[in-house]
Subunit: 360 residues, 2 copies
Amino acid sequence: MSYKNFPMVPRVVFGRGSFNQLGEILAPKRLNINAPFIFLVDDVFKSDSWLTSRIPLAYNDQIIFVSAAEEPKTEQVDELVESIILKFNERPSGIIGIGGGTLLDLAKAVSIMLTNKGKAQDYQGWDLVKNKAIYHVGIPTISGTGAEVSRTTVLTGPDKKLGINSDFTPFDQVVLDSELTQSVPKNQWFYTGMDCYIHCIESLEGTYLNTFSQSYGDMALSLCEEIFLDDDLSVTESQEKLMMASWHGGMSIVYSQVGVAHAMSYGLSYLLGIKHGIGNCIVFDQLEEFYPEGVKVFKEMKAKHNIVLPQGICSKLNDQELDTMIDISLGLVPLWENALGKNWKRTITRKKLKALYLRM
Amino acid sequence: MSYKNFPMVPRVVFGRGSFNQLGEILAPKRLNINAPFIFLVDDVFKSDSWLTSRIPLAYNDQIIFVSAAEEPKTEQVDELVESIILKFNERPSGIIGIGGGTLLDLAKAVSIMLTNKGKAQDYQGWDLVKNKAIYHVGIPTISGTGAEVSRTTVLTGPDKKLGINSDFTPFDQVVLDSELTQSVPKNQWFYTGMDCYIHCIESLEGTYLNTFSQSYGDMALSLCEEIFLDDDLSVTESQEKLMMASWHGGMSIVYSQVGVAHAMSYGLSYLLGIKHGIGNCIVFDQLEEFYPEGVKVFKEMKAKHNIVLPQGICSKLNDQELDTMIDISLGLVPLWENALGKNWKRTITRKKLKALYLRM
């Protein structure tokens, strides 16, 4: 038996307003005046001077605003990398992702692809990255995905949605400033928070679970229940706790894996472009069979926050489209194996998946 | 307000038997065949081939057995460093500490002092270390101190007991193999486990607490209660959970601090050489006034495991000796400030401390 030697984020700042420290954090990492810091920023902040005016720009540092309306794509990573290479004579000093899971994953992937040849799609999988990435910093502005601590960057490629899982993927630095999450729209807050909740359920109910992952999962789960079911937290407390839940939820996956919801949601996302958070919710809502208690509590949370999920999103799909989704989903072997054990194929057939998708 | 940019252990393996992976973990870190790995190993393992035969030795790597009968001293660090410098032509490739808090702290301190001039005592304090330490690995064989994740190495020097707190102090790699804790004697298991429990209480009840530290503290505390009060854990589960409790308890101190028990226990340790774990227990047992609920539960744990603490250890001390302990204790300003707020001196007088010490 060999255990994973997990790479943890080596530096973390936590605190309300800690975003103001970004300048002093980055300064010692500047390689030279021709090696810029590139800030990949969610374009919802484009005219938000409260945030953008505090991005510490010097020399030829650059902000690139990126829409998070769609899930991040390998092609998008390749384009960003090409534009950075063409524009600057030197490799950047660092890539800083400011946003939700999409921006964080893009920042990770761009920092990897600046030092590794070929296309991002070549590295989708496990431990295919050869060279250390460029210094990269993650600054979440919405909590739940766990992208700030994970060793993956999940990308949709030409033929699959799959992460670049590697020891070089995790951020070198994370800034956890819950104040940055204050303007998240309610639905998105819920969907992304539920990404964390669903991580926890899938990790804690999975066959891969060990004591390390369990302790993080228990913590994140109890924070989620406090945030989404209790009424006694202040707004600030709730934002700070969700930031920590996301962190611990991400850590819970270290020795574990996600499960059925993620495996099926990747299919929705690949075919229909449905965003990860809401996709997970749509799938998880139908998974009583696999996670009875988790789904029950999920439905309570949904009701408490008056969240209405889209219905019938798969009802008009033809067989070929359903097959594509099923193929994507079945390809995620470790997720199924974690969820249902080595003999998962006895439970999960194409027919079964089709029936589940048609309920969504 | 400026928040600490905390250095986390960048690599961690967790798993029963993961000690077997040490060879493959170290191999890529070997600088050259003349730069040895030095293993500082608790001398209780001296004739324990179950452990020592699995220490991967090559070239001129060396095992140095060190007694943990006494708390680690600055002088001891200086001697170890000198002996390593004299014996080898090149700086070591790495220092690996295998043992409890004493061995882990020695490994951290030796790795720092191999790259920093002067004596270890010069660096007791906060952020006095100038140069990056040598690659160092921590492998706990007893759980509770949190030394495996902390950014300090607590040493007794000629005039104080105080940590070398720095960004270079944390381990580069930690191996968490709960099997290594299987032979810990019961009393020591309890005292060291209580170090973790007391960390949590002091952190959670402290004025420095924030949401980051709280979430780790809550997790560690609930693990401690499960381990020391419930009866439904297997031996292996209990060992694994205590290993995680120690880890999370250490993380809880990141943005927090320890408090009254540690501040007073440092005095006992400095003057009487009382080991940290038992010293904390002796002090904490008398701290109802400061931590009523925490002390109540501590007494339940003590009773459940039939632990009898030494009594009257201070009763024969003269005033000068008591003054020395009080001086050491009062010098730990951040601990008092965390415990009781900025105006802690209103509560904590020399007279008050003397009365408390005399009860121990």
